[in-house]
């Protein structure tokens, strides 16, 4: 069984920031959204671009509830792939353009200011 590994310190990830860490052969993006930590792979499923090198901001929504007008929503939750701008919700791994298509997400554990990546993932 794989060991849980320390990937970053809380001090390295102030609210609203994100960073890419190495977990074995994989790269994982860790995001601090309003004080909560989230983790997704640094690989976009479109053309395998380095998704987590992108900027985090919000996105636009337009549906019946907004009377089909554009609304700016989910500020701080959306990462945009630097290769071709596909958007992902970092808190759920869901792709904004293709609801239902998700990247894996990982539950991180914090202890004594250190962030641990789960053992079994």
């Amino acid at each position: 069984m794989k060991k849980e590994i320390m990937v970053a310190t809380v001090a390295e990830l102030p609210e609203g920031s994100h960073k890419i860490v190495q977990v074995g052969s994989r790269e994982i993006g860790i995001f601090n959204v309003r004080g909560e930590l989230y983790a997704i792979p640094n690989v976009c499923f479109h053309q395998n671009g380095p998704l987590c090198k992108g900027a985090v901001s919000g996105t636009v929504r337009a549906d019946e509830q907004t009377s089909w007008k554009l609304e700016w929503v989910q500020e701080g939750e959306i990462v945009v792939c630097p290769w071709h701008s596909l958007e992902f919700n970092v808190t759920t791994g869901e792709c904004v353009a293709y609801p239902g298509r998700r990247l894996p997400t990982y539950s991180l554990r914090v202890e004594d200011g250190q962030i641990f990546f789960p053992a079994d993932k």
Binding site: H46, Q47, N48, G49, P50, K53, G54, A55, V56, S57, T59, V60, V80, P82, W83, H84, S85
Partner: protein, 378 residues
Amino acid sequence: MNPTITDSTLADHPSSTQLKDILVVDVDVHVNETPQAIAPYCEMPWRKSLEALREVPQGYLNIPGYAQAQAPWPMFPDGSGRRRKTVTCAKEMRKDLDDLGIDIGILFPDFFLFHAALQQADYAIALAKAYNRWLVEEWLGEDNGLKGAVMAPHHDPVVAAAEIRKYAKHEHVKAIYLPTAMVDPFYGHRRYDPVYEAAQETNLPVFFHSVTCIHPTFPFNMHGFSTLFSAHVMAHPFSCIANLLSMLETGVPVRFPNLRVAFTEAGIGWVPWLMMRIDKEYNERRRDLPFYKGRPSEHIKKMFFSTQPIEEPANLRDLAALISLFDGENSVIFSSDWPHHDFDHPSKVLQIPVSEEGRRKILGTNALRLLNLEVAKR
């Protein structure tokens, strides 16, 4: 532009290992020809114009007075600004292409994708000449897989032909770039015959390359759209279709039988549609084009079509089927469009389920034939 973003995002992101065993020729990568860069190569008085442009703010593919993108669409923060989208020297380009798994790249301009929109003909011609001098001097000095496309200013086809002949003997000039966005009249007009004569005589292929903009020239009069989404869908393929049709109308393929023709940055989905459409039309209107003997689409089969932005249907087998509709295993050529916003990684093209031989042709050897390049095949 965010000045802190210098990472190409390619460096630590290795290309598919499969690409190491395949010769990859990329027929469309872009160099950043700023006014400052080409000013020393520009004749007077236009050098003064370029020097004056130093004070003008520059955007992505957009410098008023030089390359105005005419993009009246909204932007949202960080939509696509998080990696550099310019390549400013040969060393940087070589490194990027290595990271992408590309062996040979054909260099096209950034800003001069809008060249045909320049109204001052003498200025436009001076810029084209300066670009060609700069390209040869600054980018094509080494035998490192970077190859040039000499720019042919449409404003004066006689000058364009002279530029082609001037640079054709350079060992790393392998193509001719015809600015296709906003060009008027289309490239089938007989005024361009000197360009095709020069291309045929020098054995260099002509490349049609468009760009997205709104302009009062068909098919760029896209003021009916409210989004870049629609304009970008239309701009590239429709200008290629319009110019290809124009060439068919005046019999360019039969009047210049040895001319090699390539269309870039329009994807390939439109090709079988156009072939079937013109063949249907030919039945009824042969008298409009009496110089063809049989289906005019046979001439399109001899032309080349670059992949980017490659269509990405849910099932990639559909793309393989589409390629088979026009014998594309022999005429589709890979392009990445690096470093532009909608570049394709070659590994995407590698995924199309064509035959192993077809894959090698599309990624490399078709382009070798088009460019008349001798390269040791892997």
